[in-house]
């Protein structure tokens, strides 16, 4: 599904990723952990195509395609989804209009028919309900006036509407209380399938108790320092990053 080879990325001339290698197979759930400033979010932004992140070396292959050559919206069309650490508020753009435009854009890219207004409403209500989201939230502009937990639920709602092949969740657990964390995790787990892969980016092990990964990687100083099974996350949590020879916080 995803193959990252020797990826070097600079932001404003400063090298953040220094040779990341990572392979995610179809149906697998990977977690990337690491201290603050190790480059976790940079990796998610490079995958989604954000500007200002210069790939100086290496490649990313997604289903055999050169991901770096695709526009941001094309990546979404190809089934890549990024759940934001800090979802963006967009005043004046209604949530419903946004979700429908998004769904129909992705469907259009995939050569599928647009969803009618009536079917869309049914679909979105059903999905929102399963995530414990109030319908009224969707009457508001995108993320405007949403609490931290509501924003994260909204991310998962979008994910379940767009049904991605590869979902990248950037610190989805941050700012969530335990109940909200469970709802969000259930939403993510509901999408798990042998055809879909997930990349969880997280600072803490907490989320991994709810979304159990097949592999855990530790990112430090812009490289994958060590990889292992889910037990690695438990060990990290117990002993701290320091015990593994990583600084607790690395200057970005």
């Amino acid at each position: 599904m995803l193959l990252i080879n020797n990826l070097h990325v600079s932001v404003q001339g400063k090298e953040i990723l220094r040779g990341v290698n990572l392979e995610i197979g179809t149906g697998e759930v990977h977690a990337i952990m690491g201290p603050n400033g190790s480059g976790k979010s940079t990796l998610s932004y490079v995958l989604s195509g954000r500007e200002g992140y210069d790939v100086t070396e290496g490649e990313i292959l997604y289903n055999g395609k050169n991901l770096l050559e695709l526009d941001i919206h094309e990546r979404a069309g190809e089934g890549l989804f990024l759940a934001f650490q800090y979802p963006v508020e967009i005043p004046g753009v209604s949530s419903m209009n946004f979700l429908r435009t998004s769904l129909n854009s992705v469907r259009g890219y995939r050569g599928e028919k647009e969803v009618s207004a009536v079917d869309f409403l049914k679909l979105v209500r059903e999905k929102a309900r399963s995530l414990g989201m109030d319908d009224k939230l969707l009457q508001r502009p995108v993320n405007v006036g949403f609490s931290g937990g509501e924003k994260k639920r909204n991310e998962v709602l979008q994910m379940s509407l767009l049904e991605p092949n590869l979902a990248v969740l950037d610190e989805t657990d941050s700012g969530l209380d335990i109940d909200a964390l469970k709802v969000v995790a259930d939403g993510v787990n509901a999408l798990r399938s042998p055809k879909r892969s997930t990349l969880l980016i997280t600072h803490y092990q907490r989320l991994l108790g709810y979304i159990v990964p097949d592999f855990v990687h530790v990112l430090a100083k812009g490289k994958i320092a060590t990889s292992g099974s889910k037990e690695l996350a438990v060990e990290l949590e117990k002993k701290g990053y320091g015990a593994f020879g990583f600084d607790k916080t690395e200057a970005a």
Binding site: S48, G49, R50, E51, D71, I72, H73, R75, A76, G77, F81, L82, F84, P87, V88, E89, I90, P91, G92, V93, N97, F98, T101, S102, L103, S105, V106, Y109, P141, V142, Q158, L162
Partner: protein, 439 residues
């Protein structure tokens, strides 16, 4: 000062001789015209040293040559897309009333229409109407008064409600280079209501100069929704001025949509003449290329318990410029005034430039007044967010620009007029050039 600059005084000589040559063709109002000539000779035409004209430079306009309009034959099809569905229409071609293109059935007993030329004919000895526009104020109103030739005289009776919108359509014919001085006089009677739309358009390219003054009188309890849509050729000139006087409990809802002309200025002054009068002024300018668009307001609270709100937005692309000058004046008699003003600008290009100048003069102490101004670029985070959800760049950008402008139309009833405005706003958005990332 550059040597090539044409001094405004020489322009007045030009207008004086122009006036002398045209005198026989201009209808009536000789006393008014004489007064206007005196004002022009005394004060001259505005320059950038005139305070209210600091940001809008008319030198290019004054250097341009215009020629009288030929009588161009135009068919209604040529401007069909500009006709508001279900409206009464009064049509002018190159500044002259066209009865054959107009369509005014069903107004009998409710309103009377006359062309200004007809109305002024023979009215020479005295002021033909109690004018409310101040021709001594810096601007082109004196010039308009000197040279006014045609326009709309529209009187709405007392106690009537006109359901269909009334549209004044001013068409500039293809390749026209006319100088037009139009004067519109509108009265809305006691407790009456109506919607009036003034549309300025060109067929093809035009280098015409349209100088229009509209006087609005709203009697007690009258309600007028007044829309100006200025979408003339981007090589033409448009100077428009509205002077409104509102009596007790009268309510004016004014909206200016401006996307045409190389240089446009829409000025509105509102006299809230008696208690509880209420005006809402809104404006949206959408400009590109090297267009210049100026919205200037002057709201005067003369009496107590009046309300006024002003909300102006500009969307600027390429090297365009916008100006907003908003003035609120609260007289000592105007306790319990509620007056607000806001101007916001969205720059789609680093080459664009927006100037905003609020001016509040408050002589009463028990009032609520506020003002604000903001200039911003497209929110790159919002753009990125939309794109990660599969929405392509141009669509994402249009969603954000649309969100910026859409609240101006909130509160307007869902009717053909709103549809009409939405249609032109959307068509401007679609014409934004292929997506440019803001560096």
């Amino acid at each position: 000062m550059s040597r090539t600059q044409l001094h405004p005084d020489s322009r007045i000589e030009y207008h004086e001789s122009y006036f002398a040559a045209l005198r026989d063709q201009l209808p009536g109002a000789s006393i008014l015209r004489k007064k206007a000539m005196e004002v022009l000779k005394r004060d001259g035409l505005p320059t950038r040293r005139t305070e209210t004209w600091k940001y809008t430079d008319l030198r290019q306009l004054f250097r341009s040559e215009f020629r009288p309009a030929a009588h161009n034959k135009i068919k209604r099809d040529a401007f069909e897309s500009y006709i508001v569905e279900g409206s009464h229409s009064i049509v002018f071609v190159d500044g002259l009333f066209s009865a054959s293109l107009s369509c005014l059935e069903g107004l009998a007993g409710k309103a009377e229409f006359e062309s200004l030329a007809g109305f002024l004919n023979g009215k020479d000895d005295r002021d033909p109407w109690p004018s409310i526009v101040d021709i001594e104020k810096a601007g082109l109103a004196a010039l308009n008064t000197l040279l006014m030739k045609d326009g709309v005289v529209f009187k709405i009776a007392d106690g009537v409600s006109i359901d269909r919108p009334i549209q004044f359509i001013f068409v500039m014919s293809e390749n026209s280079a006319a100088e037009m001085h139009l004067r519109n006089l509108v009265t809305v009677g006691l407790n009456s209501q109506a919607t009036i739309i003034q549309t300025y358009i060109s067929i093809g390219q035009s280098t015409s100069f349209c100088n229009v003054v509209t006087e609005l009188v709203l009697e007690k309890d009258a309600y007028l929704r007044h829309i100006i849509h200025q979408d003339s050729s981007d090589s033409s000139w448009h100077i428009g001025q509205v002077a409104a006087r509102l009596e007790s409990r009268a309510h004016l809802n004014n909206f200016v949509l401006s996307s045409g002309a190389r240089l446009a200025r829409s000025e509105i002054s509102v006299d809230l003449n008696d208690n509880q009068a209420d005006c809402s002024l809104k404006g949206l300018a959408m400009v590109r290329g090297r267009q210049h668009c100026d919205n200037t307001t002057d709201v005067i609270h003369h009496k107590s318990h009046c309300r006024s709100s002003q909300s102006y937005k500009n969307v600027l692309d390429d090297y365009s410029r916008t100006v907003f000058q908003g003035r609120i004046f609260v007289s000592p008699n105007s306790q319990k005034t509620d007056a607000h003003q806001m101007s916001r600008n969205l720059l789609l290009s680093r080459g664009a430039n927006a100037d905003s100048k609020p001016e509040l003069i408050i002589h009463a102490d028990d009032v609520k007044c506020s003002h604000g101004a903001a200039v911003g670029e497209l929110d790159q985070d919002a753009l990125f967010y939309l794109k990660t959800r599969g929405i392509d760049g141009p669509t994402a950008r249009n969603m954000i620009v649309h969100a910026f402008v859409s609240d101006l139309l909130e509160g307007m009833p869902e009717d053909h007029v709103k549809e009409y405005l939405k249609r032109f706003i959307n068509s401007w958005l679609r014409d934004i050039k292929q997506f440019k990332e803001v560096a």
